[in-house]
């Protein structure tokens, strides 16, 4: 019984953290906001430390790691609000590895020479679809059957949208399925798409956890330095309690997210329920972190010049992405209220 990352996982995590601290500053984020794409030379750098190919099988030059390592890394990506579509590429990579391992995309993703994006059933927009080298599309066809397609830019047209988080480059995708693009259908496709959605929700949870921690740290820093009427605002009980309440949410969300990663990495029966629970807790932590950190910052936090908004806006967007809390609550309830709920992880 160990509910903690292994030393290797910790090491990997710290490597990514240090890299992002240097190469993904808020100046970089503002640049990504202004650009047409959030993908920069950083993508190739991330490849060098194995991040882009983290879940790509070793046969395709990836690290062949699991959702455990992925979520550990994504928490750091969230802390830095990394603008590149790391999660989307990882979700796409999972589907490519299953249905199109030899198409050559995985090697390119591992090498940082390509980015992938993904559009799952029910997902309104695809991120970075205009710059992604490959777009993996999941859909339910007219006869109600699941299909997975590997689409090339030629196969679809895009309508650019504008997210409140300008580093999320969203596109509505008009995709006409072709027999050539079809790589899987039926129950295999359905299972893979469900698995992909869970990876997306788990990844979003890890990102939200990192975002929450970042916004808390910003609030704490500010409260330690900001003097108002001659006193540090951090000495006000209301400020202390705002921040303490955020820490409580984060500290309880963390083991929930870690457990979900463990379950999903092993495809345990409780995986779907555990992932939904993770998304609910992480989104709530990030939501409270945004509100309370903003309240602690006061008017300065409400300005565009202040960096807090970069993280708040990403948190709001991710809270609704990959299934909002209502969606995931319904999933947890459906399992718990069923005749035979999935056994607990860890067992009991």
């Amino acid at each position: 019984m160990r509910l903690a990352f292994t030393e290797d996982q910790q090491l990997f995590r710290e490597t990514v953290r240090d890299f992002l601290a240097a190469s993904c500053t808020t100046e970089h984020l503002r640049a990504a906001w202004a650009a047409d794409t959030a993908v920069s030379s950083r993508w190739a750098e991330l490849a060098k430390i194995g991040v882009t190919g983290l879940v790509v099988p070793e046969e395709q030059d990836g690290l062949g790691l699991t959702d455990e390592e992925l979520s550990a890394v994504l928490e750091q990506a969230g802390y830095a609000a990394l603008p590149e579509p790391l999660l989307e590429s990882a979700v796409a990579a999972g589907l490519l590895a299953e249905f199109a391992p030899d198409a050559g995309w995985l090697e390119k993703i591992s090498a940082g020479e390509a980015t992938a994006s993904v559009l799952l059933p029910g997902q309104p927009f695809a991120i970075e679809a205009a710059t992604a080298d490959v777009l993996v599309v999941g859909l339910v066809n007219a006869s109600g059957e699941a299909e997975v397609h590997v689409a090339n830019p030629a196969d679809y047209d895009l309508v650019a949208q504008r997210s409140v988080d300008r580093s999320r480059k969203l596109f509505r995708v008009g995709f006409a399925p072709e027999p050539e693009s079809l790589v899987a259908s039926g129950s295999a496709a359905a299972a893979a798409l469900a698995r992909a959605a869970d990876r997306g929700a788990l990844g979003a949870s890890a990102l939200l956890l990192g975002l929450a921690k970042r916004m808390l740290d910003m609030g704490v820093e500010y409260a330690k330095q900001r003097v108002q009427r001659g006193v540090l605002i951090g000495t006000h009980q209301s400020v202390q309690h705002h921040l303490a309440n955020v820490l409580i949410k984060i500290e309880f969300a963390r083991p929930v997210v870690m457990r979900a990663a463990y379950s999903l990495a092993r495809d345990l029966p409780s995986a779907a329920r555990d992932v939904s629970m993770a998304k609910i807790y992480a989104a709530e932590a990030a939501d409270l972190a945004a509100r309370n950190s903003l309240q602690v910052h006061g008017a300065i936090g409400y300005t565009e010049e202040h960096d807090l908004q970069l993280f708040m806006k990403r948190a709001w967007a991710l809270g609704a992405a990959w299934g909002d809390s209502g969606h995931h609550r319904a999933r947890v309830a459906a399992d718990l209220l069923s005749e035979a709920p999935a056994p607990l992880t860890p067992g009991f």
Binding site: Q123, P124, F125, V159, A160, Q161, R162, S163, V164, D165, R168, L170, R172, V227, Q228, R229, H236, S238, V239, L294, Q295, G298, A299, G301, Y302, T303, E304, E305, Q309, M312, W316, A317, A320, A321, D324, G326
Partner: protein
Amino acid sequence: MDLEFSPKEQEFRQEVRSWLEANVPATPLPSMDTEEGFRLHQEWEKKLFDARWAVVSWPQEYGGREAGLTEWLIFEEEYYRAGAPGRVSQNGIFLFAPTVFEFGSKEQQDRYLPKMASGEEIWVQGWSEPEAGSDLANVRSRADRDEERGGWVLNGQKIWSSRGTYGHRLFGLFRTDPESRRHHGLTYFMVDLASPGVTVRPIPQLDGEPGFAEVFLDDVFVPDADVLGGAGEGWKIMIATTGSERGLNLRSPGRFLAPANRLLDLYKERGGGDQVLRDAAVQAWMDAEAYRLFTFGTVTKLLDGGQIGADSSINKVFWSQMDVELHATALRLLGGYGELDEGSPDAVDGSRWLDGFLFALGGPIYAGTNEIQRNTIAERILGLPRAK
């Protein structure tokens, strides 16, 4: 109790309603914090003024109708109901004007009020200063006497001045007695922002618009004619104005009903029978109703000769939280479409819900943070000892 409006009041309501129906722009104006939007909002104010709807409660001679409190509320209800443009002149006509009427000289009233009412001159508030937080007594900007020119030389910095980017005149406190501290030695000035030595730096807020600005004053000369009341009387005079700022409750009882009703429509379209979202939408509507009723209660109190006082703190905490929750619920209803900003082809209702959410987030912060409001409630209404 009597929750009916008199025939005369109903008639007044009809008159307002039909004028608004005939004149409110079909499509919403661009944000008043953009250059074009600011101009268009000024034009709208002129239109209101010409029809004597700009300042209904003011005296005839300054373009008003001498409307009573209830009639004024009716006007405000109808104004929001009609979805008419925001009031770009609100800092002047709602916050500052009461002070001018009470403390300004006839000459000053004649000089300022007509242009304020017509929207020709937009007034900007200069309350906050860096480091001072919500504590208005913490004024560092100073004014030094200049006998020769018969006026004062202002130096310092004001921040969070709404409408500051495009506005014309600033009202605020400056320290005329360098020896003084806190509430003492402050004087109330009206500063022409076109004067030499004034630098305005727009501050874009969460929604990207420069809703407020930082105003730097370097040796800005202000003639005695633009001093409100006597030197050193600034604090006493200011109280009235902040009173009305925090008493935003009297801005409009119907203020939140329009968005609440739109939220119910949004639920009907997109709620899919979800009971949790249903209750959240209904709660927003009920809160908007409660806000309206609370306002009627306050008005009754005022008509009976009572004061608002610290009640406005109760009101401010309530509406600022309601406004955030209302828009957060809308974003939940929009799901993956909630993050779409204006300019998105697929944005629902032109991203008004997102805009409203970002705007609402300022509520718990401005005009005294909700934490300070709660302290005020505890100390001034509940009579608890001053917080440590």
